[in-house]
């Protein structure tokens, strides 16, 4: 079994701003461990001749020229915002960084 315990799940939940009950934490600790183990089995299939990669496609250097394209108006940009003021997004104060 992979080493994912209940504390790990609680830590990740806090980082991800996800509220989880004690029951959910217990269940997820078990399920995540199984998932990690399953993913691990990939390394059994790949031999030493297969390099580790973060991307499935053998693409590199996909670039864009530095040319200005379209933009939104402030009105468009704010159209989906729950709240706004002075053409800016209005958000609750962030206590620990203000």
């Amino acid at each position: 079994m992979a080493a994912i315990n209940r504390d790990d799940v609680a830590h990740l939940a806090r980082l991800a701003h996800i509220e989880m009950s004690a029951q959910e934490l217990d269940r997820m600790a078990g399920e995540l461990a199984v998932i990690v183990d399953s993913v691990k089995s990939v390394s059994q299939a790949a031999g030493d001749d297969v390099p580790a990669t973060s991307h499935p496609m053998p693409l590199t250097n996909v670039f864009r020229d530095d040319v200005v394209g379209h933009t939104f108006t402030a009105e468009q940009a704010l159209s989906g915002a729950p709240d706004s003021e002075d053409n800016r997004f209005k958000v609750p104060a962030i206590l620990d960084e203000a």
Partner: protein, 502 residues
């Protein structure tokens, strides 16, 4: 309210050895953003330089700005770094409204440039080598304005307003290795290092490099250890240090604060500190904690950047003359002595003098004005000389009027005050204030006669060959004419009158 105890800098230095580290963020001056084609422009109306990528809308795909990659490679090369054969982007996950995506696209384990160095020249000519750990590509965040939180009151009514124009602006973050051995010169080195980075990116043309606009921003890490100990102390990281003077002051302050904490037998808290320019102190931000667990992982929407060696060499060939070499060349061109030139560099007016010379002034006139007149005024106003806004053309005009004998140096200095006070151009101020050198010999001769009569002993000395005594008579004449006489002409007339040839 800041109540941290501090030790005097001298005492702190007697007891402890500082170790520094810097993270400098450089905003690139590309036309568009790092991953979107929205314009990278400062000062526009809020939320008008954004599109769906900058706002982090679902399903959008970022595409890397090629010019930003080239600028990043140029910065790496100018910092004597190795350029990665292959590197990739990573997501740095955190929740804060300055990033609408809930992650910043950055680089983590594979920066584009690494293992470099920069030789920093201190004010007395000592060269100090700063090792560069890495320079990596990332994107800037939006700008938050906190409303209603004055006097520390934080209640439900408070909120923040967010402008995402800056979100996605290309950044290069330059990280040093720990800097040891600077000793009491640590604050000076800090300032000189950031100044050197600013100079390099400006010289490369990859950034506007205006610190007051946040184009170059510095986070300064400071820790202390007792002399002779190898192991580093616990560090603080001071954010929001956004002028060269502030970098120097912040490092100095943190050294003094750490020393007081250690002296009291307490451990330094590893935390973020916020710099306050008004009080020249830092206050505690948040401690390093779980919140720093950013869960980096490779950005799945961007493929690796693989700069071919040919491309890197092409870019290397376009690099301009490095600042250190440029300084050497300018000193030669201008004919300044080592001391004169070092004073110019330390006063931060080398660029200004170069521009003034380009505008038509001689090297000695440009130096006289910047070092003799403007630097002192900047010091009095507590700003950098360049911030006073004196235009090269103004100096050329003033110097021309002095040379033509229209006004003398003293008047020219008054005219400069007028220009700085916004009274108009030098010619307008001369006109308005009725300034003009009395060059008609008639009134001068009268004043000379009076001055000679007032100091008969001095006249005798001059007749007997003590020519330097003429200064006393010139002074009398200048006083009588309220400074409006041409001192050179007065001197000639006095010597002529006394029959002295020089």
């Amino acid at each position: 309210m800041n109540t941290d105890a501090i030790l005097s800098f001298e005492e702190a230095m007697e007891k402890y050895d500082p170790v520094l580290g810097f993270e400098v963020h450089v905003e690139l001056n590309t036309r568009t953003k790092m991953f979107s084609s929205a314009p990278n422009v400062f000062g526009d109306e809020p939320n008008t330089n954004v599109n769906e990528v900058d706002l982090g809308m679902p399903g959008v795909l970022p595409v890397v700005n090629k010019t930003a990659v080239e600028s990043s490679i140029k910065i790496g090369l100018a910092l004597n770094c190795k350029i990665a054969e292959s590197c990739r982007f990573a997501r740095k996950n955190y929740f804060y409204p300055d990033t609408p995506k809930n992650f910043q696209t950055s680089q983590y384990d594979e920066p584009i440039a690494y293992d470099g160095y920069l030789d920093i020249e201190l004010s007395d000519g000592t060269v100090f080598r700063v090792e560069i750990e890495r320079a990596h590509m990332e994107e800037d965040a939006g700008k938050l304005t906190h409303m209603g939180g004055a006097t520390g009151r934080i209640h439900g009514a408070d909120f923040s307003l967010v402008d995402y124009n800056r979100a996605g602006v290309p950044l290069v973050e330059i990280v040093t290795k720990p800097i040891e051995g600077a000793g009491s010169r640590a604050p000076e080195l800090a300032k000189a290092y950031v100044a050197a980075i600013r100079e390099i990116v400006k010289n490369l043309g990859v950034s506007d490099a205006r610190m007051e606009r946040g184009n170059v921003r510095c986070d300064a890490n400071v820790s202390l250890r007792p002399h002779g100990r190898e192991r580093f102390g616990i560090r603080s990281e001071t954010k929001n240090v956004n002028s060269l003077r502030a970098v120097e002051h912040a490092v100095r302050y943190e050294i003094q604060r750490h020393a007081a904490v250690l002296d009291a037998g307490n451990p330094v808290v590893q935390e973020t500190r916020h710099w306050h320019e008004d009080t020249r102190t830092t206050t505690s931000g948040r401690p390093k904690s779980d919140a720093d667990d950013y869960r980096y992982f490779p950005e799945p929407d961007l493929v690796p950047v693989v700069p071919s060696r040919e491309w890197v060499e092409e870019l290397r060939a376009t690099l301009p003359e490095p600042p250190a070499a440029r300084r050497k060349r300018l000193q030669g061109d201008w004919g300044y002595s080592d001391l004169e030139f070092r004073d110019v560099v330390n006063a931060g007016v080398m660029d200004e003098i170069e521009e003034t010379i380009a505008a038509g002034a001689s090297a000695s006139i440009a130096r006289k004005w910047w070092m003799g007149e403007i630097v002192g005024r900047a010091k009095a106003a507590d700003v950098d000389p360049g911030q006073l806004g004196v235009q090269p053309a103004t100096i050329v005009e003033l110097a021309g009027m002095v040379e033509d004998g229209k006004i003398n140096n003293k008047m020219a200095s008054q005219v400069l005050d007028g220009v700085l006070a916004g009274e108009g151009s030098p010619a307008e101020i001369v006109e308005k204030r009725g300034l003009a050198v009395v060059s008609d010999d008639g009134p001068l001769l009268e004043a000379i006669d009076a001055a000679l009569a007032a100091q008969p002993g001095v006249a005798d000395k001059i007749r007997n060959g003590k020519v330097q005594a003429v200064g006393a008579i010139v002074g009398g004449v200048m006083k009588a004419t309220r400074g409006q006489a041409d001192a050179g002409r007065v001197r000639e007339l006095i010597l002529e009158k006394l029959g002295v040839t020089v």
